[in-house]
């Protein structure tokens, strides 16, 4: 009865989604759509937790439940994506219910173009993560419960339109992910998990401080983003908030020098967990930076842009240098996963509408590329029974599938044409050379260094002379090929059809309205203060 009343209250209080004009319209009109995306994984996790499972008899069933939950969520997301009103600047699928009115907390969910982009990323990465986890044999129930809770936290942070709700999901995401590393990681899992907790804890503190500073400065007694992020603050307060948000973002994304957790974590965590962290959980850093700093505090964004640019350039250069010297495949992958974050940040430092658009698209493409490179390297290390790059040589003939997927990951990382990262990086660089020329050159040089180190890595590992003393090698299993293929497919699809496939001779999208079009919704609002002449 309580749940029904809450549902009715949300329904009554929430504006119905605006009429849609693209294919798929009118299929799904529930104003609880975002709540469904957030809470379904939680409910399913609860069901899995109480399902009887004597001596692991129903382990396979639990994996299937997690898989079909993700497929179902992706379907709901696809419908929402098709119903999304492109070029509409307001927040859509809004849900707004007073939660703790005494302190001004509202259960306020909503997505604009950036949010929809993040949700699609989270959906794809979530499914890939479940597929990547099909090999888990120990404590299957706990594993999939925690994985679903992690997905729910990421989705919740994306759709949150109240700073309290954002903090809630942002902070909560640390717990299941840390436990997943603790329980199912490699030999150094404890150190990896504690580092994750420490760094992300610092990030949560920083975000909390920013939130409280905004709350105190506005004096509105509300945590609603519509209030907090639309109040003009003094430059000093904007700077304080901006600095805290940069720290929060830098610990998540991660950026040099807040990247201390990444190497251990990506090399020790199970593949599925690495994928979800690299793909979606870390992208929340850039998303929050975009929303809170760039979107709401333009003075601080401009004052802090040199700092952001330096962080971006140093991160990429550091990653390139470390990969060049690395002798451990998973360490190399962990450092390569830093690269997309650096590119994203360059656009946010440049603060031109084109660069911000590029940054936004690079959150999506970078998430997929980072998840792919981490996933494929972990799979190669598993299949080759070694992660030592001195041992791994000439693997291409013996693992053709993984070779192709590795190449796609490299292409995705470097922004090669036909990959989603190409338009993202093109927009970012074209929009950055005017406002941040030095940083843009530095990032470009850093990417060249990364490309060089990747050429060395790929040549040696895949196409060099085979090592006769190396352990036995096998190609990826069907499940591994599927999860890596899904990530690579996402990169290729958006790279080939950034505006969505259309019926020949018309502008009518067939089933994908185009990620770039969707991205534009709400971007005007964010980028408007930085338009030429303003």
């Amino acid at each position: 009865v309580i749940a029904a009343n809450i549902a009715a209250a949300i329904h009554a209080a929430s504006p119905t989604p605006a009429p849609v004009t693209v294919g798929g319209s009118g299929i799904f009109t529930s104003s609880l759509l975002l709540s469904i995306l957030v809470w379904t994984p939680v409910i399913v996790a609860g069901l899995i937790a109480v399902l009887p499972n004597p001596r692991g008899r129903y382990d396979a069933l639990m994996k299937q439940i997690a898989f079909f939950t993700n497929v179902g969520l992706l379907f709901v997301l696809w419908v929402a994506y098709n119903q999304f009103e492109n070029f509409l600047t307001t927040v859509q699928f809004e849900e707004k219910v007073s939660w703790l009115p005494s302190i001004g907390v509202v259960y306020h969910l909503g997505v604009d173009g950036a949010g929809m982009l993040m949700l699609i990323l989270s959906g794809l990465v979530g499914l890939a993560s479940v597929l990547a986890s099909f090999g888990v044999r120990e404590r299957v129930r706990s594993y999939f419960c925690l994985l679903l809770l992690s997905e729910a936290c990421v989705n919740g942070a994306v759709v949150a339109h109240d700073m309290f709700v954002l903090l809630l999901f942002w902070g909560a995401s640390t717990i299941p992910l840390a436990l997943l590393v603790f329980g199912w990681g490699g030999p150094r899992r404890e150190a990896a998990a504690w580092r994750l907790v420490a760094y992300w804890g610092v990030g949560t503190i920083a975000l909390l401080i920013a939130t409280m500073a905004l709350y105190a400065a506005t004096g509105s007694g509300s945590f609603d983003m519509d209030v907090l992020l639309k109040t003009t603050l003094s430059p000093r307060m904007q700077l304080a908030v901006g600095a805290a948000v940069i720290v929060a973002a830098a610990t998540r994304l991660p950026l040099f020098p807040f990247h201390g957790w990444a190497r251990d974590l990506f090399s020790e965590a199970p593949v599925g967990v690495s994928v979800i962290i690299a793909g979606s959980a870390t992208r929340l850093g850039a998303y929050v930076l975009l929303r809170v700093l760039v979107g709401a505090e333009p003075i601080a964004a401009q004052l802090l842009s040199p700092l952001v640019a330096v962080l971006s350039a140093v991160t990429i250069a550091y990653a390139g240098l470390v990969v060049l010297r690395s002798t451990d495949l998973r360490h190399a992958a962990a450092n390569l996963a830093l690269v997309p974050g650096g590119v994203t940040l360059l656009g946010l430092a440049a603060l031109s509408p084109l660069a911000i658009g590029g940054s936004l698209l690079s959150i999506f493409s970078g998430g997929l590329a980072a998840a792919l490179i981490v996933g494929v390297c972990a799979t190669i290390a598993d299949r080759a029974q070694s992660r030592n790059l001195r041992v791994l040589r000439g693997l291409a003939p013996r693992m053709p599938n993984l070779t192709w997927l590795m190449l796609l990951a490299v292409f995705g990382l470097l922004g090669v044409p036909l990959m989603a990262s190409f338009p993202a990086e093109a927009m970012t660089f074209l929009g950055s050379f005017k406002n941040q020329p030095i940083a843009a050159f530095a990032v470009a040089a850093g990417l060249a260094l990364v490309a060089a180190s990747l050429v060395v890595l790929v040549h040696r590992m895949l196409f060099g002379l085979p090592n006769p003393d190396a352990p036995g090698v096998s190609d990826s299993s069907l499940g591994e090929t599927w999860f890596l293929g899904l990530l690579a497919g996402g990169l290729l699809w958006v790279g080939l059809f950034p505006g969505g496939p259309k019926l020949p001779g018309t502008d009518q999208p067939i089933f994908d309205p185009g990620l770039v079009n969707t991205m534009a919704a709400g971007l005007t609002d964010i980028a408007d203060p930085y338009a030429v002449g303003k």
Binding site: I2, A49, S98, W99, L100, P101, S102, I103, G104, R139, S142, F164, L167, L168, F169, G171, A172, I175, A178, L179, F182, G183, A193, W194, V197, A198, G201, V202, T204, I205, L208, I209, M212, A213, Y215, A216, G219, G221, F223
Partner: protein, 470 residues
């Protein structure tokens, strides 16, 4: 007559406690003893429902000695919920005496209820002493030495309280709390007022077990029975915090007399509790220090001396009462150390979930009761410009969270011992089955406290208003 109906919950609680104590002399059938915890938990639930229903009536009884207002309603409901859940969740096979073990939480709850409804200094003090005495008895059953230690430190705290109350009475010229509040409006923050307030807060901090005054409560809780530890760390501390809230409400016109002390105590407790929790490995000790840290958050809310802060602190007090009282009870015997929890997530999932919820809630982890309460206090601190205290509190929370994760790792990640695995298939005793159901209730209560926080926080704010805060 209608007004006097508000006393029914207190009557049920105290009558049940007395009957239980008498039954220890009379004895009882075996089947009755088996279901006694369930019957008592049910009676406490009835008292809670009646409190929520009848307690909404505003009333002043016994010539102003008993006041039923929104503050009393909130505090009593929180105490009854904590006591009932603790009785339900305790593993009675690990307790030393069924009848006394059941009676003492009820008496402690009764003491806290009396303090919540107190209209003058005498009743306020008496309520706190009843709650504290119940804790001494329950601890003393298993470990008389620890009971004596608690009694002596409690005696010192009582001395400080009595002296402090006497001086405040002398300053205000009345023992009536509402009149004293009015008199304090014109009082100046002088040294003769600040010193007794310091004594009072010192005595209350000892009773509440807030660092650096936790020297008695934490070590004592480690040697007590599970429910005894829950009583000392939870209900007795809650009673002390209720008295503190009422005292702060009287003194809001002269914040200089108490706010700096409270802010200092809060800062030490928040960081000290978190750091100490991180430094120990024994689950009960860790839980005790986490409780110290969260009690520090309550004190931080009170140091703001305005409605938002007090409302937030009261809201957090409810979450604290639940987790700090039920945590040790659901944890069970502490003798085995951390290893005794290994793999409990597999062997006893409901109990493991209850333990995890209590630890995480005390650490302030989202999205549980403690997080919502601490956030409400944090919002009040930010609004009041107490950013230093907020920063210290957040640091303490992160330390607490890391400590709580350490216990979660043992619960869910470590493999269970082989003998534990073999025991899984066997039927559990009735008491253990009941406590498993209690653990489920505890999980639901901690999870729902924040999710359905609107009416609870609203009531907490009304409670703060009832104490005259604006």
């Amino acid at each position: 007559v209608i007004k006097q109906l508000v006393l029914i919950p207190e009557a049920i609680v105290v009558a049940t406690a007395v009957l239980l104590l008498l039954s220890a002399r009379i004895g009882g059938s075996r089947s009755l003893r088996r279901y006694l915890p369930a019957i008592v938990a049910g009676l406490v639930l009835v008292a809670l429902v009646l409190e929520l229903w009848l307690g909404a009536t505003l009333a002043t009884l016994f010539g102003g000695g008993f006041v039923q207002d929104r503050f009393a309603l909130f505090a009593k409901a929180a105490v009854l919920l904590a006591a009932g859940t603790a009785i339900a969740v305790a593993d009675w096979s690990a307790e030393d005496s069924l009848s006394i073990g059941l009676a003492m939480p009820l008496l402690a709850a009764f003491g806290a209820m009396v303090a919540a409804s107190a209209g003058d200094f005498v009743v306020l003090w008496a309520g706190l002493e009843v709650a504290a005495a119940a804790g001494v008895v329950l601890v003393g059953i298993r470990r008389p030495d620890l009971g004596l230690r608690l009694l002596i430190t409690g005696g010192i705290a009582t001395a400080l309280l009595v002296v402090g109350f006497a001086f405040v009475y002398a300053t205000a010229g009345t023992a009536d709390l509402s009149t004293a509040r009015q008199m304090m409006q014109s009082a100046a923050p002088t040294l003769p007022l600040a010193i007794p307030v310091l004594l009072l807060l010192g005595g209350l901090a000892v009773r509440a077990g807030i660092a650096p005054f936790h020297i008695a409560s934490v070590p004592v809780s480690l040697g007590a029975t599970p429910l005894g530890a829950g009583l000392v760390l939870g209900l007795v501390a809650v009673a002390a915090l209720i008295v503190t809230i009422k005292l702060v409400a009287i003194l809001t016109a002269v914040p200089q007399a108490f706010s700096p002390y409270l802010a200092f105590i809060a800062a030490v407790a928040m960081v000290g509790g978190g750091a100490a929790a991180l430094g120990v490995r024994a689950p009960r000790a860790r839980l005790a220090y986490l409780a110290v840290g969260q009690a520090g958050w309550v004190a931080a809310g009170l140091s703001t001396h305005y409605r938002g802060g007090l409302g937030g602190a009261l809201f957090l007090l409810g979450a604290f009462a639940l987790a700090a009282t039920c945590g040790p009870a659901v944890l069970g015997g502490a003798e085995g150390g951390e290893a005794s929890l290994a793999g409990m997530g597999v062997l006893r999932p409901a109990r493991a979930a209850g333990i995890a919820m209590a630890f995480l809630s005390l650490a302030g982890a989202p999205p549980l009761a403690g997080f919502f309460g601490q956030f409400a206090v944090a919002a009040a601190l930010a609004q009041g410009g107490h950013f230093e205290l907020l920063a210290v509190g957040v640091l303490g929370s992160v330390l607490s969270l890391v400590a709580a994760l350490g216990t979660l790792r043992v619960l869910y990640i470590q493999s269970p011992p082989e003998e534990g695995r073999r025991a899984v298939g066997f039927a559990l005793p009735a008491w253990t089955r009941f406590s498993t159901a209690g653990a489920v209730v505890l999980c639901a209560a901690i999870a729902a406290y924040g999710a359905f926080g609107n009416p609870i926080l609203g009531l907490a704010y009304q409670g703060a208003e009832a104490l005259g805060l604006r």
